[in-house]
Symmetry: C2
Subunit: 197 residues, 2 copies
């Protein structure tokens, strides 16, 4: 698998955290965002559309982070300057995250990996994967949640870039929107007081 | 103000919680969802478009909740049956929430009221406003977050229902999307471990 070449990408390995979300709970969450098999199909279509545009997408997202110091600071080193190695390592995993989201194989291994990603935003695991000394020991949950908007909105032109019909583009985009809400929701879990998630 | 007639709607009164979010923090959050003055203008346009469709919108949302028992149960009484008075009281405030979202007067009073709404989802205040005995003493944060999808997606046909151009409808919808992400983010605050929001 392509993942083996990406530092810190541990999907499907023993190093990954275990999600406490049961299959039944996950099913209820999918129902809440109205995620269906048809969405999974459109996500796989999106995966084909986006596959050779991943660098450009990441350029857009990284430009967004770079132009907002309250977001860019999460990638700072101990000198309070951007740590370019850290940025580069996260970038490869971010590209793979797009592939995994579009593959839409939302099974137990994927669910566990969402918990792993969640923890890597928190003080439990941030900085540890890439062994960096960042002054920011966690990402404030407010930004994990609020970045949902740019991550959903900015993908649409890329979905439209390969000549699909407006209806197909819209369906791919809605499936992407649902998938991102699903994941951001799962990523909130370790931030929350026990029993309230 | 119309709000005076809505039971439990305390916007702008002394009974409302105080938001701990500073003006600067709120500004950073608005930047994260790319919320601009233009979005505020399109929200006010949306307010005019939606104003005589609020009942139909609430019908759609309540049908959605009613058809998903894991969501409907938050409105149950002690007998584990839907409490219709509770549903009706929340419904009036939910309509007013659409008006307030579209008014886009996101000042200190509004920010305080987001904290009040947030607390009313949690075990700090759920059931107290309407003085109901519901077995659910809080709404799990996962559903507060995941309901973002249906709340954003289902509004679009209503925005398109008054003959505005597709571009205007799209801009109203994007402004609505940003405003809902902003609010759902603020509503997560009291669920989160201190220092991690």
């Amino acid at each position: 698998m392509i993942g083996i070449q990406i530092p810190g990408y541990t999907f499907g390995t023993d190093e990954v955290a275990k999600s406490p979300i049961t299959d039944e709970e996950f099913d209820l969450l999918k129902q809440t965002v109205t995620f269906t098999d048809e969405d999974a199909r459109y996500l796989r279509m999106a995966g084909e559309v986006l596959d050779d545009q991943l660098e450009q997408i990441l350029d857009v997202w990284y430009d967004f982070f770079a132009s907002h110091s309250h977001l860019a600071r999460y990638f700072n080193g101990p000198d309070e300057e951007l740590n370019r190695n850290y940025l580069a390592a996260v970038r490869l995993r971010f590209e793979q995250w797009i592939r995994d989201t579009c593959a839409a194989q939302y099974d137990r291994a994927w669910l566990d990996y969402q918990e792993e990603i969640a923890l890597r935003h928190t003080r439990f695991k941030k900085n540890k994967t890439d062994n960096v000394l960042s002054p920011a020991d966690h990402i404030d949950l407010r930004y994990v949640l609020a970045c949902l908007y740019p991550i959903v909105a900015t993908i649409k032109p890329f979905l439209a870039g390969k000549g699909h019909s407006p209806e197909e583009v819209e369906r791919m985009h809605q499936a992407w929107f649902k998938a991102v809400v699903l994941q951001v929701t799962l990523w909130a879990r370790p931030y929350v007081r026990p029993g309230d998630f």
